[in-house]
Point group: D3
Chain length 69, copies 6
């Protein structure tokens, strides 16, 4: 599957915290730094996500803001 | 200002394409790779964004998806 | 690529309207009814989207609201 | 109330999973297939959502991505 | 129609800027201050939006961030 | 930090409900009315959010819909 979302950043999973409905997945980016994702707990299961697994953080462009110091 | 959005990734602006309402801002991340942001053209003006300027790409955690190969 | 976004609805493209930065893509769902997507014009190009092409409308669960009459 | 969000897809509720803050609502679309929504648990209560209830899944166009095989 | 989105703030339209695909609608809130919305130009037409018209700004809770000084 | 998100509405925190992953923060706006935000529980901690604290509700323009009666 090829997706219109233009931001697909490679990394590996550093931690997963599971709630009842949602889960927080922290991704250590290959380029340095962490990215935090909140998805459903069921997606964590269906994708077989686990600490150390290689993944992409995917973000739709309209969801990215810009900030300056 | 300190923001609840936990993803704030440093980089510098590579290109800006302005439409009537929105603008596309491509950010070259310090860690490598590009991130594309779509914000309003007025935000580009009010922040004084320009190619080469140092910025942060900011994303709310609930907007980050996870993908596997 | 397998994505955490759990809503992937099949259909085919009915119309595309391109602006400077964004494009509106109307998808005729296989199950009936249309779904409207706003993505960047560059994604329309990079995916080679055109009227009649088979696609999936993809939506992250946290972006879906519920309404009652 | 008439809403700017152009995607309003009819269906009925198939399941509800409630967490502390959020709830996952699975909607069986009239056109076939399921759509998953994550809203607050309080919205589930205030709308009186329950399995079997007729609802609309509502999505803002800027939240819809497009994918190809 | 009753919607799960819990933020529905009353105001009236102060300005509309229309692009090819999207439109920017500035809403003067009854409680003071402005709120900016970007929706499709077609939604502006189908809702008959115009300067001075009374509207609600509607936001899903998962889209609201919190900031401190 | 100065942010591209153009909606930054002042208020103070009325209540916080914490789940495992997410938290619901209700903000009483200075202009009247409440705004509900769902952020991660860790953001509540890192910002030191508490009932009575002065905050801003921040929303990206592309996340704001418009409704009419």
């Amino acid at each position: 599957m090829k997706l219109s979302a233009r931001n697909q950043i490679p990394g590996k999973i550093k931690s997963i915290t599971e709630g009842v409905v949602t889960a927080e997945v922290v991704i250590e980016l290959d380029g340095g730094g962490d990215l935090v994702s909140v998805i459903t707990r069921k997606s964590v299961e269906s994708l077989g996500l686990a600490v150390g697994k290689r993944v992409y953080a995917v973000v739709k462009s309209t969801e990215v803001m810009v900030a300056i110091d």
